[in-house]
Symmetry: C2
Subunit: 405 residues, 2 copies
């Protein structure tokens, strides 16, 4: 893409109330725009990153048998009353609205109820199970205080997968598969090293749930980390009996701050029973379907990447989610041929063809954080000055070498 045609520009400053690093850098770089507290828009560069994050998640969900759907935002209270999740006393983050006839509706903050109801039309026999269904959808949560930039917001995209199994053992088997898929996602998104599977409080059906926590000073959560075993315990279940059960020793645990980038949860029959999602086994006996749920917020993951990977000059995107692979910084209007060559080779490139000083162009390249900076100028002749965003070393290469990268 030609940078001169990008409608966004980098900004020197953002609103004073924007405390978090992720929002500051994403707004300054032209990735995101804060509409008001807890509500952000994704601009072209930001949407490119978000879509790469989404595609990584989608590929891993498909790999474990997920089938993608797109469910409704507007929610019918009748369904949610059956599971006792409609009243503001039981769920305090609903946004509610009304139809013209004054009937109340809610804006979906999660989708166990509508999907369980849908599945009850398609599942009746043990032969129909297991099934794994997921979506990417905007969720609405009426948070008292939105905070941490794009990490805790009032509307956000979420990948939510729900599993439908015959037995607790079948759920357990898929749950482990999903946990491994989650670790793969964080690995691919560049957060593998600093993200830990973390024991957290469970529910009626199981003692623990699993969170995926990314170690980061600005995180909201406190976890206790066994770096060697690569597992952690959330502060909420950091008790002697729990540590004993998990075979962890306090001496080996570090207390660190972390950002929750995903969580998976065994639901058992919590939703299938009140909503009548049953199956009959081989002998004709009826059982409730055993469910699990598996969430990741692609926007939160993107914000976490920025929190973890930046320096004083800007963002340092991992290649897998970067908006472009190469930032072609053109200092003497000689880049067009190279731009076309890179495009033909299928390399995603942002060509800085703007009328601007070298200083402005270099500062913007650092702020935007594309992994590879390729400079052409009078000085470089027919060579290209190549620099990785996360290294200081500068190399002089020719086009052939650049194409191999």
């Amino acid at each position: 893409m030609r940078q001169s045609q990008l409608f966004t520009k980098t900004l020197k400053n953002v609103a004073k109330d924007e405390q978090s690093v992720n929002a500051q850098l994403l707004e300054r770089g032209g990735f995101a725009y804060k509409n008001f507290a807890g509500v952000y828009s994704y601009l072209p560069l930001g949407l490119k990153v978000l879509n790469k994050v989404i595609n990584i998640i989608r590929e891993e969900m498909n790999a474990i048998g997920g089938q993608e759907v797109m469910l409704n935002t507007l929610q019918d209270p009748e369904l949610w009353k059956k599971t006792d999740r409609w009243s503001d006393a039981s769920v305090d983050i609903w946004f509610k609205t009304r139809l013209k006839n004054d009937a109340e509706l809610g804006l979906g903050y999660s989708h166990e109820e509508p999907l369980t109801e849908i599945m009850s039309h398609y599942i009746s026999s043990y032969k129909d199970l297991p099934a794994y269904v997921y979506q990417f959808q905007t969720k609405f949560r009426n948070e008292l205080r939105a905070k941490s930039g794009i990490l805790r917001v009032r509307e956000f995209l979420m990948k939510d997968l729900y599993s439908f199994s015959r037995t607790a053992e079948e759920l357990e088997e898929f749950y482990e598969k999903a946990a491994q898929a989650y670790l793969k996602i964080f690995q691919r998104a560049g957060l593998g090293e600093v993200t830990y599977r973390t024991f957290a409080s469970g529910g009626i059906f199981s003692k623990f749930s699993d969170e995926f926590q990314t170690v980061c000073e600005t995180g909201e959560d406190t976890i206790y980390l066994d770096r060697k075993k690569r597992i952690a315990v959330n502060k909420e279940v950091y008790q002697d009996d729990v540590l004993k059960e998990l075979g962890l020793n306090k001496k080996n645990l570090d207390e660190v701050k972390a950002i929750e980038v995903g969580n998976i949860f065994k639901l058992g029959a919590r939703f299938s029973e009140p909503l009548g999602l049953n199956y009959t086994d081989g002998s004709g006996k009826k059982h409730p379907v055993i469910m699990g749920c598996y969430g990741i917020g692609p926007g939160r993951l993107m914000g976490t990447i920025v929190e973890v990977m930046h320096d004083s000059r800007g963002i340092i995107w991992p290649e897998s989610v970067a908006p472009f692979k190469v930032h072609l910084v053109d200092l003497n209007k000689s880049g067009e041929k190279l731009y076309e060559t890179l495009l033909s080779a299928g390399i995603e490139v942002l060509w800085d063809d703007r009328e601007a000083s070298a200083g402005v162009k270099f500062a913007d390249a650092d702020l935007i954080g594309i992994p590879l900076r390729a400079v052409v100028s009078e000085k470089t002749g027919d060579k290209i000055e190549l620099k990785k965003r996360n290294e200081e070393k500068i190399e002089l290469v020719d086009i052939k070498e650049l194409l191999k990268i």
Copy 2:
């Protein structure tokens, strides 16, 4: 995909209150699920079709210079008060909700206001223009009566593009480009023959807007059609002076029912003035930016395709938006090798590997409406019985010939 693993099943009947053909067929085929009046979910087959429609639209919007974003659903009343579109007296389709502190918010039914506000941070000089920005986003409209299946609903995906130009002439130029892109979209989606650019009522800034109307008996709109000139006039502007202005003769016009599948509208300074979106020209003089807006609902387009292209047995998808290219109907469990071969060749195939009778499989194939049915059975040996969904002719071919299709 293996049909045995698809969690949906075809249904014999749908709810009695479902009058429209599109909803009946989409629900029976497992494409969509009606959550409640005016609110539908997209199931795996339906989401595949929807995504193909979206991709056609995205390609054509990118081709005319569109830059994709994703804006906010939750809307700040202050912005909409500035353009006098907040009160229920001026806009009667708002869904409204409240924050915990009781501040009112709206659910976006269109996005002129938030995008104009965003652009005011990036546009200041004539050098920043023109710009074309679009998104695919769920809109919410509090319709008194939802009707016509997925055609008139309370929440729906919309592609909305907004153009930002310096002058009326520059707007005009892009407006015509956008109109041509729209015709291309309907052509690619299989509705080219029956979709007409239609003069409809304009606003303050221009006498007419342009609708794109697909001729269909079940349409809500009445248009007057000049088949030879391939243009039409909406009933709302069907007046002698208008016909004269457009060079149309009543004698050559047919009155037909039609479905509005897109519309484009010149906005002028209607939003840029109250929201302060200005630019300075070369001599330093300030002007309001001249805007246009361009809408298509991918779900409505999908529903219209079904209304236009079906028979008594089911849907007849055009190849460009079909969920799969080939429906491999396997009558003797001999299809696996062919399935793998088609997949390796990059052909999208739904393999009916279910335990079911030939009659059930054929009926389901007709209902789901994949363009090409490939039957393997004891009778066909190492050949394949090929039939197009929209033809009666059956051909016996070998794998090589099938791969060429």
